[in-house]
Amino acid sequence: MKAPLRYMENYTRLIFAIALVCSVDSSTAQEFLPELRLGAMGVVSGNIGLADKKTASAVSDFSDSSVLLGARQQLFGSYRAQFVVGFQFPDAESQLGQVFYHHLFVKLSNQRNVFQIGRSRLDSNLMEFPTLRDDDALSYTDAQSPFSDGQNSEDTQFGNLVQFGRYLTKRIRLDLHGEYYSETRRREESFELNTAGLTIGYRVPESQRWNRHRLDQLVFGLEGFFSKDDPDASLVREVLPNAKLGVAINLRPDPVHFWRLVHQTIISFGADDVQEINTYLDATRARSLASFTSIEYVRRRLERPDYRISVGGGVRIFTNLDKNSGQFIMVGNFFRRIGAKFDVGVQGIFEHSYGDMSFRLPSNSFRINIGFIYAIEHVFNNQFDDRDSILNLEHGYIN
């Protein structure tokens, strides 16, 4: 008799399971399909490099190409929830594998508040610069992570994040954030925090660019890396703070001939004991000033970009070393739009390192990239407006 009973028991469980699934399905059938957002960017280039009279080339470099998928919906109150997952193709020899999940976060936001938890772009920088790839001038545009082994740029750009943002006005936002920068140097991963900071910034929303403000962005940030037990440096806990200031000015906010200047300075206060650079860790812990400035010209024709020319330059100076050390960079590029969101362009970069910085870098290097950029973004099932839309900003916010 036990076998039939067991059969009945299993059968009942099966029915219960089916009923549960059906009830869940039927209860959700009438609810909203979330708003889905798909974004993708293909960056493909051929590179030619010349470093200290040695040449190197890459026929097909598709690093930094990425895909983002997001879902968003209105909650029962004023808040909206968003989930984003994304991956990108890291640099060759990055030791990050074929793909790297650079975004995976949940965000809750309403008109004033933003809560975000997960992996995302970190606050190692404040401004975006017009370079082919985001990491083309990373040493000058981002605070360098002391937790990284220097093998890849993703350690500095992406990590786990807990952030609370508050819009003090429509354009001024205060962020408090704690981060976990990947500790690739120690081969450890964790969901704890090793960095904390705050950022306050004035930013004109993209939708209001033709209000033609001169001052587009003014942002200030403070951040501290909390280095724990560190066998390489024989240290037990230290705080490596840095301060950042970024500004973007629309030199000529003209719809046809658009000129823009972007500048950022990062002061890394560093550790007093670092007076020479022998390792990558030393470079991240040394007292330094990194600055980058770009000027871009965008020619727009009948309300779409036609071409863009930009030049930029940066310096990184170490101020507490025994030897005068540092590096500087010059970047110039030209991109032509040949189709909807499809650009072709060329970029040249010259970089010079001196003093202790030549321990791991060539004194002079020159690189040319010839590439294509194809960026797409589409929103499916759109069902509510963004905080920064013209309607919400200029005609009263609607939840």
Binding site: W210, R301, L302, E303, F384, I390, L391, H395, I398
Partner: protein
């Protein structure tokens, strides 16, 4: 009997006994109902030989139903715009002021205006640009129920609220031809429309951003006509294309999913349960002016009685037709006479029930009702006599559940559950 039931029944009984035919609930409803009809636009001046009106358009927030507000365009702050009433033969002057950052015109749909006053941009006039005022002048003719609406970016601007009724009454001293046949005292104007609120929002954002750029270039004398896709002729278009101009249909595409797919259907700018009701008394006729200012057809069906179709596009029909369902196509107007011959509360709704939804959820949309104000009070009670029935029939408890719900004392309820 529970105490609440006792109190409800007792109150009803005493009111019913002392004031057997006093319709205080309906008086309240009638007053409340009045706000669902567009205000009549008062002339600003009649001494100049013209009936002069001031119309402006602005960008406002509008609540379609409780819980759903949108940014939209509105004439004089209301959706629909105020009702314009003139007499046939009147000389009419309308000062139209554009208070938005977008271009607009006004088309007088159904009126025989001079062609330069017809409101079709680049065909009969230049668009009325931001902060500009344009003066329309015409003689009011022909008699009947007509529409006015924006004719710039019509796919967006009409469903975004830029429409209203213009009624041409008989010339001064003349009687109404329909009233002569069907005597009536009260009339109602119902302006139907359909709205894709997502399309409205996205397009308004795009247009507003684009117009800021264009206005700057206009002010600096650097505006190129290609930005409006404006050409003298085909050769001019081809010449521009040879110089690198891409017509919008070659660089953009709207799939069926991108075209407006209405998710809200309104009467006088509101969806059920905020739709206006038609109040009537036994023995009276009411005239209802049906206007479709939207892009969806409505198959309107009245329960409980028939109505007479007395006018089509404003023209009185020599042989009125008796019907209970009428197809109101986009751009059409029909006048109907509803006789008060069957007291009750009767649904008046779109029989294509997809248009009786809010965001696709039934009930909603253009659902409304013909309500007899003089319905005996006890007939209007939610469940008359149910409390007494419950005493003797426990099976009535299920039906009696509504008696347990606070506030449900008289019909019609607002019901939002499917």
């Amino acid at each position: 009997m529970h105490r609440r039931q006792f109190l409800a029944t007792g109150a009803a009984a005493s009111i019913g006994g002392v004031l057997p035919n006093f319709n205080f609930i309906e008086e309240r409803s009638t007053k409340d109902n009045a706000r669902h009809f567009s205000p009549i636009l008062e002339p600003i001046d009649a001494s100049s030989g013209f009936k002069e009106f001031h119309l402006f358009v602005d960008l406002v927030q509008h609540e379609i139903v409780p819980g759903v507000s949108i940014h939209t365009l509105a004439f004089n702050g209301t959706i629909p715009g105020p009702e314009i009433r003139v007499n046939e033969g009147d000389r009419v002057r309308v000062h139209f002021e554009n208070r938005t950052g977008l271009n607009h015109t006004i088309h007088w749909h159904g009126l025989h205006v001079p062609w330069r006053m017809d409101g079709v941009p680049y065909m009969t006039q230049l668009p009325v640009m931001p902060d500009q005022t344009f003066v329309y002048e015409f003689d009011a003719r022909p008699y009947g129920t007509h529409i006015y609406h924006c004719h710039w970016g019509t796919m967006l601007h009409m469903q975004a609220g830029m429409y209203g009724a213009i009624i041409v009454d008989p010339a001064e001293g003349q009687t109404d031809p329909i009233q002569n046949v069907f005597p009536y005292e009260r009339e109602y104007t119902l302006v139907y429309s359909s709205h894709d609120t997502n399309f409205i929002r996205n397009e308004l954002n795009i247009m507003l951003e684009r117009m800021k750029e264009r206005r700057f270039l206009m002010q600096n004398g650097r505006f190129e006509k290609e930005r409006f896709g404006l050409f003298a002729d085909i050769d001019d278009l081809k010449s521009a294309m040879a110089k690198g101009y891409h017509p919008p249909y070659t660089t953009r595409r709207r799939t069926s999913a991108d075209l407006p797919d209405p998710n809200f259907f309104t009467i006088n700018g509101k969806s059920y349960p905020e739709t206006p009701r038609l109040m009537i008394r036994e023995g009276e006729n009411i005239r209802v002016r049906l206007i479709n200012a939207g892009a969806s057809a409505h198959s309107l069906h009245l329960h409980g009685t028939d109505f007479w179709v007395v006018a089509d596009d404003g023209y009185p029909l020599p042989n009125p037709r008796r019907m209970n369902t009428i197809l109101l196509a986009p751009g059409k107007t029909h006048d109907i006479i509803i006789p008060g011959d069957n007291p009750g509360i009767w649904a008046f709704h779109d029989h294509d029930t997809r248009r009786a939804t809010n965001n696709g959820v039934y009930p909603g949309g253009t659902l409304t009702a013909l309500v007899y104000e003089d319905l005996p009070y006890m007939d209007r009670m939610a469940m008359p006599g149910m409390a007494e029935m419950q005493e003797h029939d426990p099976a009535a408890q299920m039906e009696n559940a509504s008696m347990e719900m606070d506030g449900l004392t008289h019909l019609p309820f607002i019901s939002l559950d499917q």
